[in-house]
Amino acid sequence: MSKLNRRNFLSLTSGALAATSLGFPMLSLAGTKRVVIVGGGIGGATAAKYIRMADSSINVTLIEPNKNYYTCFMSNEVLGGGRDLDSIKFGYAGLKKHGVDVVHDLVTGIDPVARKVSIKSGSSMSYDACIVSPGVDFRWEAIEGHSEAVIDKVPHAWKAGPQTAILKKQIMAMRDGGTVAIVAPPNPFRCPPGPYERASQIAWYLKNHKPKSKIIILDNKPKFSKMGLFTAGWEKYYGFNSSNSMIEWVSGDAGGKVASLDVAKMSLSTDAADFKADVINIIPAQKAGKIAFTAGLVNEGGWCPVNQRTFESSNHKDIYVIGDSSVAAPLPKSGYSANSEAKVCAAAIVAKLNGKDSPEPSLVNTCYSIIMPDDAISVAMVYRMGKDGKIMKIEGSGGLTPADSSAAMRKREVGYAHSWFNNITDDIFG
């Protein structure tokens, strides 16, 4: 019974090493493959877990500066009063249970030739494959007078957490009869229906607590995601299109393009007019996360082109980009997309590190928006690879909640939206 298999050998050697070589903790055995993941959001955390579930011999290190992650999805419900901030807060204990090495630090550079990631505290880590999932960064320069320095006064709340808390506090402190201005970003951006769900949720809060108040959405665009369903919902609950509408939407063509912000005067200027507001929420124009620029992973548009079969960067070999930063269209920049892309990427990396071909991908997006506590709408789509190597929508699948769906079915969608939240967050962090 003294058969020495690989596992026995590993435990024997690591035991002996632990006793004799303290201060040498990064020792890796020859042949162990290592994946380094940059960013512990939806994409990065999902990929870490799914690589470990598929092949526990692969060493996975996830580098993320924050100890907790607040999901952007459902953060609008915090504004509406339907949930508290703690309910969208997640830590990394679950990933550690899957054997993921979680390092709280900031990645400062990636060397694609030496295959090394350098971190702020000074050390570097080598990788066989590196996944970059940094989410979005903001183009502050798109609106004159706007900058990161003003976000305590003019929150974006498009990365959830303290920013969500600031916006909520401002809305709660606002006088009845005040105006909340939401500046919606130009395409492409994280969570296309998000600004309009936000307007719905804030309207729900105001209707119940400050019914004389107004919301004005200043939009760069001529139309938006789930537009027909949102505007019908706003008509039903918030008087949209009536003389006493709580929500007003100004399209880009109608003078909704915001050119500048005056923080001291709390006003926004478009080509057409100046708008004064009590609370201003600017959701800035977006681009790939900062590290994607530092590591040379972006195209001229500021997003990361990838091989859509594996999510390997078109710019650098062995670096993969998933989530909001990647060019994964026709998939939208959503949480479900990032989760789905991460699984395809994880499977491709596991296959590659085991000397196999990348598997045939299958992807899904499902996205819910809650208009009021008994009424939610959704959009879904199933995707696969086209013969041209690009992700394609499967014809006949997916689409929106039907416009004529009954109130009972809309209420069911609320239950499914909350189930979606419970399940996707457990799938990512659990």
Binding site: Y336, E360, S362, M381, S397, M409, S419, I424
Partner: protein, 197 residues
């Protein structure tokens, strides 16, 4: 039989026997199934409150329901739109995948008085097909014990309203249960299933 056909059939047999091998262009069972996890939970075990656990589901029932969603023959919110994205073969792969996983019961709220009545009603009206208190998934029976209450409620509502067709045997039992105990009887049943954790 022509020689070409014999070779083709042999190849098909080899493909279907070797687990994990899929015909070119078809994603693997786990690749397909992983796309469900965002709503139905990792490995098909839902954290509720309304999306059902699909781990341990009957192979036949999974195929039947997915095909019905696809054809919009049963009421749904999002599933009809999702099911249309998969071929018959892909649905079969997913059915085998999820039927091979273990149903895991999670804690949920229930009324113990109603659950006690539900236990009796289950025995009288349901146990014959939904064996072992609704734990079994033999043939085409859905697992009821430990399933999420909101899901059971939605589904029973669709059945009793006539929006979803019941099999003859089931209709007979549900009709007589409703006749004898009304909607409280159905509510008791749901509480009984929710109580099994």
């Amino acid at each position: 039989m022509k020689q070409k056909n014999i070779i083709k059939n042999c190849l098909l047999l080899v493909f279907s026997m070797a687990s994990g091998v899929s015909l070119a262009g078809t994603p693997s069972a786990s690749m397909l199934a992983d796309t469900c996890a965002g709503c139905h939970g990792t490995n098909g075990i839902s954290n509720g409150p309304a999306t059902p656990t699909i781990a341990g589901i009957s192979n036949d029932y999974f195929i039947e329901v997915m095909e019905q969603f696809k054809a919009a023959e049963i009421p749904s919110t999002i599933m009809s739109r999702i099911a249309k994205g998969y071929t018959e073969d892909e649905i079969k792969l997913m059915a085998r995948h999820f039927s091979g996983m273990k149903f895991k019961r999670k804690p949920q709220q229930f009324d113990s008085k109603k659950a006690a009545l539900g236990k009796k009603l289950h025995k009288k009206y349901c146990e014959k097909c939904h064996e072992d208190g609704g734990r079994k998934s033999d043939d085409d029976a859905g697992i009821l014990a430990g399933q999420w209450a909101a899901y059971l409620q939605n589904t029973l509502q669709d059945y009793t309203s006539g929006d979803r067709e019941m099999q003859k045997k089931m209709k007979k039992k549900v009709d007589s249960l409703q006749k004898d105990h009304g909607n409280d009887g159905l509510d008791a049943l749901i509480n009984f299933y929710a109580s099994q954790q």
